[in-house]
C-alpha cells in the first residue's frame, strides 16, 4: 500500500461533512501534514511495520467519523536513536505539522526532544517508559499507559479473576526479559504488589537476555522452583521459546500471567497452534464492546486478511485520531493551537479500554486501562474488566500434554 497516500481526496468530502463547519474550512486549508515515525527497518522492523497497519486502515474510518483529512509523511528510524532524531527533523523540514511515533522508548525520547524544540506536537502511539512524560514537555502527549499503570491494572484484574474462578495460585515464579520495558516492570512489581494484596508469593525471579537464543535453562529453573503459576514480562520471540520449552519439559503451570507483549500476539497464536491456548495477558488492549473497535476489526479483516486487530494497530490508529480531532477543533494547523487542542482532547468513542482519550497536565492519558486477554481457540478473548469482558476466564490452564 502507498505510504504517502493522501488519506482522503477532497472530492469525496462533501456529503459527510457538510454539517461540520470547521471541517469545511479546514478542507480549504488542506490536509494536516502528519509525520509518522516508526522503526520500519532494523531489529524492531516487525513491530514498526505492524504499527504501520494501523495507519494504513485509518483514512476511510477517520472520514466516516467526520474527521478532517490527514496527509501522512512516513519516516523510518531504522531502529536507531540517531536516525530517529534526524528523521524527526527531516519530516518537520518537509512540512509535518504534527508527529506520531515511535514504539521504542529511546527513539521516542529522541523525537520528543526535537518536537519540543521545534514546538511541533508529538503524539506517542506506544512507548511505556515513564520518564518521557515526566520531563515537563509542553508538546508531547501519550495515549498509552506507563509501566506503573500496566502493573496496577494487572494486579487488580488478577484479583478479580481469582475471585471469579474461586481459586488462586499461592506461589508464582516471575520471569522477565531484561530490556527497557522488562526492567521497568520488574522494578515496579516490588513497589506495587504489597498495595494490591495479591494472594501469591513470588518464589523466584528469573531475568533473561532479550537476545536469548535458547530458554531451556530458564524454564528448567522455573519448573524446579515448584511455583504454581508463571508471571512474566516478555517479548514475542521469547514468549514462543518459553512456551516450547514448557511443552518439551512437560510443565503446565496453573496459569501463565503475562504483563506485556508476546503471549497474545498473532504470531504466537499462529506459530504454536493448539499450544497457544490458555495464557492470560494483562496489557493495553481494545475494548471489544466499543463501536470503533468493531469498525477497526472489520477494517483489518478487509485490508489484512489473517491479521487480528491488536494493541499496535489500535494505539497507532488512536494517535491519528487524536491528531485529526485536534485539527478539527483547533481549526488551524498552527502547532501551538494544535497542542492546545490536544490538551483539551476528550474522545469517548475511542477503541482502547477505559473512559476515553484525555490528557493530564503532563500530557499523559492516565485514564487508559488494561484488559485481561486470554487465548481461546486461537483467538484473543477479553475476560476482564467485567464491563468489557465477552467470556469467562478458563481456569486452570489446560495441560499441554493433554491437547
Amino acid at each position: 500500500m502507498d505510504r504517502r497516500h493522501l488519506l482522503a481526496s477532497g472530492a469525496a468530502l462533501g456529503a459527510t461533512s457538510t454539517l461540520i463547519l470547521p471541517t469545511r474550512l479546514l478542507a480549504a486549508a488542506g490536509p494536516l501534514k502528519v509525520g509518522v515515525i516508526l522503526p520500519r527497518s532494523g531489529v524492531q522492523a516487525g513491530i514498526g511495520q505492524d504499527c504501520q497497519r494501523g495507519v494504513d486502515i485509518a483514512a476511510p474510518i477517520l472520514k466516516a467519523m467526520g474527521m478532517p483529512d490527514l496527509q501522512i509523511l512516513s519516516g523510518d528510524t531504522e531502529s536507531k536513536v540517531e536516525t530517529a532524531r534526524s528523521t524527526a527533523e527531516k519530516l518537520i523540514g518537509e512540512g509535518a505539522q504534527l508527529l506520531i511515533g515511535a514504539f521504542d522508548s529511546g527513539q521516542t525520547t529522541a523525537i520528543a526532544q526535537v518536537a519540543e524544540q521545534k514546538g511541533v506536537p508529538l503524539v506517542i502511539n506506544i512507548a511505556a517508559a515513564p520518564q518521557i512524560t515526566e520531563q515537563g514537555y509542553k508538546f508531547v502527549f501519550r495515549n498509552f499507559p506507563t509501566a506503573g499503570t500496566i502493573l496496577a491494572n494487572a494486579f487488580e484484574q488478577q484479583n478479580a479473576i481469582f475471585k471469579q474462578v474461586g481459586d488462586a495460585p499461592k506461589t508464582v515464579v516471575f520471569m522477565h526479559v531484561n530490556d527497557t520495558f522488562g526492567t521497568a516492570m520488574a522494578g515496579g512489581i516490588g513497589k506495587l504488589m504489597p498495595k494490591f494484596n495479591v494472594p501469591y508469593k513470588v518464589v523466584e525471579t528469573i531475568p533473561y537476555d532479550p537476545r536469548a537464543r535458547d530458554l531451556s535453562v530458564e524454564i528448567s529453573k522455573a519448573k524446579a522452583s515448584g511455583a504454581e503459576a508463571l508471571l512474566c514480562v516478555s517479548r514475542l520471540n521469547d514468549a514462543i521459546l518459553l512456551t516450547r520449552e514448557m511443552i518439551k519439559q512437560r510443565w503446565t503451570p496453573k496459569a501463565v500471567m503475562s504483563m506485556g507483549p508476546g503471549w497474545y500476539e498473532d504470531q504466537y497464536l499462529k506459530t504454536l497452534g493448539k499450544y497457544s491456548d490458555g495464557p492470560l495477558t494483562f496489557s493495553p488492549w481494545y475494548d471489544p464492546k466499543k463501536k470503533l473497535s468493531q469498525t477497526l476489526v472489520a477494517a483489518m479483516a478487509k485490508s489484512f486478511p489473517g491479521v487480528n486487530l491488536n494493541t499496535n494497530h489500535v494505539f497507532t490508529f488512536e494517535a491519528l485520531l487524536v491528531a485529526a480531532d485536534a485539527y478539527k477543533r483547533a481549526g488551524s494547523s498552527d502547532p501551538k493551537a494544535l497542542a492546545e487542542a490536544i490538551r483539551k482532547t476528550n474522545i469517548a468513542d475511542n477503541s482502547s479500554m477505559g473512559p476515553g482519550i484525555m490528557f493530564n497536565a503532563k500530557g499523559q492519558n492516565d485514564k487508559v486501562v488494561d484488559g485481561a486477554v486470554q487465548n481461546v481457540g486461537g483467538k484473543q478473548v477479553v475476560v476482564q474488566p467485567e464491563a468489557s469482558a465477552i467470556a469467562k476466564p478458563i481456569w486452570p490452564m489446560p495441560a499441554y500434554d493433554k491437547r
Binding site: 527497518s41 531475568p207 536469548a212 514462543i240
Partner: protein
C-alpha cells in the same frame, strides 16, 4: 535445587553446544586456510535457515532432510563469493577485509528482509514438541536429532580433510601457502572450495538450527559473535577445537544460567573469551605458531 535440574540443563547444553560447534566449524575452516575472518558468518547461517524454511514451506521437506540441499546451495554461494569477490581483498589489511565482510553482511540482511519480511518464522515439524524421558531426565527430541546431525556432518568433514586428496591439499594450503604454490597446487580453486565448504557448514548448521530457533533477518550478528567466542576458545583453525569450544560454551552457559542469573549468561562467555585470549591465545586445541 535438585541434581535432576543440573543433569537436565547440562545435557541440553551439551546438545545445543554441538550445533554451535558445527556452525563455528564453518568459521574455523575458512580462517584456518584462507586467513580471512568471516564477519558475515551469522548472516550466512541465517541465509541457510531461510533456505531451509522455503523448502519446508513450499515442498514440505523436513529440515533434517533438506540439510544436504541447503548445504550444497550455500557451498555454491561461498565458492562464488570467494572466487569473485573475497579473493580480491586477500592482500589487504585486516580492517579492509573486515569492512568488506561487514558490508556483505548488511546486504544479506537487507535481501532477507526484502524477501521474507521482518517477522520471526519457523518450521513446525510434527515431532517439534516431543521429548524423551529417561528417569528424571527429559531430553528434547529435536535437540537429540539436531545434535546427532551436527556430529554426523562434523564427522564427514574430518574424514574429508584427513582422507581425501583434495582435503589434504587444502590443509597443505593452510599450513604453507608458498609451499602449496611451489608443488603446483591450484590454490585459487582450493581457496574457493574451502570457502564453499565453510559456508556449506553454515548451511547445514542453519538447517538444523531452524528446528530450535525461529528465523528472522536480524538474527545473524549474535551468532557471529558466538562463533568467534567458540572458535577462539577451541583454537582458530582447529576442527576438533571448534566442536569442543561449542560444547564448552553450550554447557557452561547453561550451568551459568542456573547458578548465576540467566541474563548474565553471555557476560560469562565474553569473560571466558577474554581469559582464553590472555592465557592461551592459540585456544585450547590450536597450534602455537601463527
Amino acid at each position: 535445587m535438585s541434581g535432576g535440574l543440573y543433569l537436565n540443563v547440562a545435557v541440553s547444553g551439551l546438545l545445543t553446544g554441538l550445533i554451535y560447534g558445527l556452525s563455528a566449524l564453518g568459521l574455523s575452516v575458512i580462517f584456518g586456510v584462507i586467513r580471512i575472518v568471516n564477519f558475515a558468518h551469522g548472516e550466512m547461517m541465517v541465509l541457510g535457515m531461510f533456505a531451509t524454511l522455503v523448502l519446508f514451506r513450499a515442498l514440505g521437506i523436513d529440515p533434517l532432510l533438506s540439510l544436504p540441499l541447503v548445504a550444497a546451495a550455500l557451498f555454491a554461494f561461498g565458492y562464488l563469493l570467494q572466487d569473485l569477490v573475497v579473493r580480491r581483498v586477500a592482500h589487504l589489511a585486516d580492517h579492509m577485509q573486515f569492512l568488506l565482510m561487514a558490508s556483505i553482511a548488511v546486504m544479506l540482511i537487507s535481501v532477507c528482509l526484502m524477501l521474507f519480511g521482518p517477522d520471526a518464522q519457523n518450521a513446525q515439524v510434527s515431532y517439534g514438541f516431543d521429548s524423551f524421558a529417561i528417569g528424571p531426565l527429559l531430553v528434547d527430541k529435536v535437540r537429540v536429532y539436531a545434535g546427532a546431525a551436527a556430529l554426523v556432518v562434523s564427522g564427514l568433514l574430518f574424514a574429508f580433510f584427513h582422507y581425501t586428496p583434495t582435503g589434504k591439499a587444502i590443509r597443505a594450503c593452510g599450513d604453507n601457502y608458498t609451499g602449496a604454490l611451489v608443488v603446483g597446487l591450484n590454490v585459487r580453486r582450493l581457496y574457493a572450495l574451502t570457502f564453499g565448504i565453510g559456508t556449506a557448514c553454515l548451511g547445514a548448521a542453519g538447517a538444523i538450527m531452524l528446528l530450535l530457533v525461529d528465523v528472522h533477518p536480524y538474527l545473524g550478528p549474535s551468532y557471529t559473535l558466538l562463533a568467534f567466542i567458540i572458535v577462539i576458545i577451541g583454537g582458530m583453525g582447529s576442527l576438533p577445537g571448534a566442536l569442543l569450544g561449542g560444547i564448552l560454551i553450550g554447557v557452561s552457559e547453561a550451568l551459568a544460567g542456573v547458578i548465576l542469573q540467566p541474563s548474565l549468561k553471555s557476560a560469562f562467555s565474553f569473560g571466558l573469551l577474554i581469559l582464553v585470549l590472555l592465557v592461551r591465545p592459540q585456544g585450547l586445541l590450536g597450534k602455537v605458531a601463527r
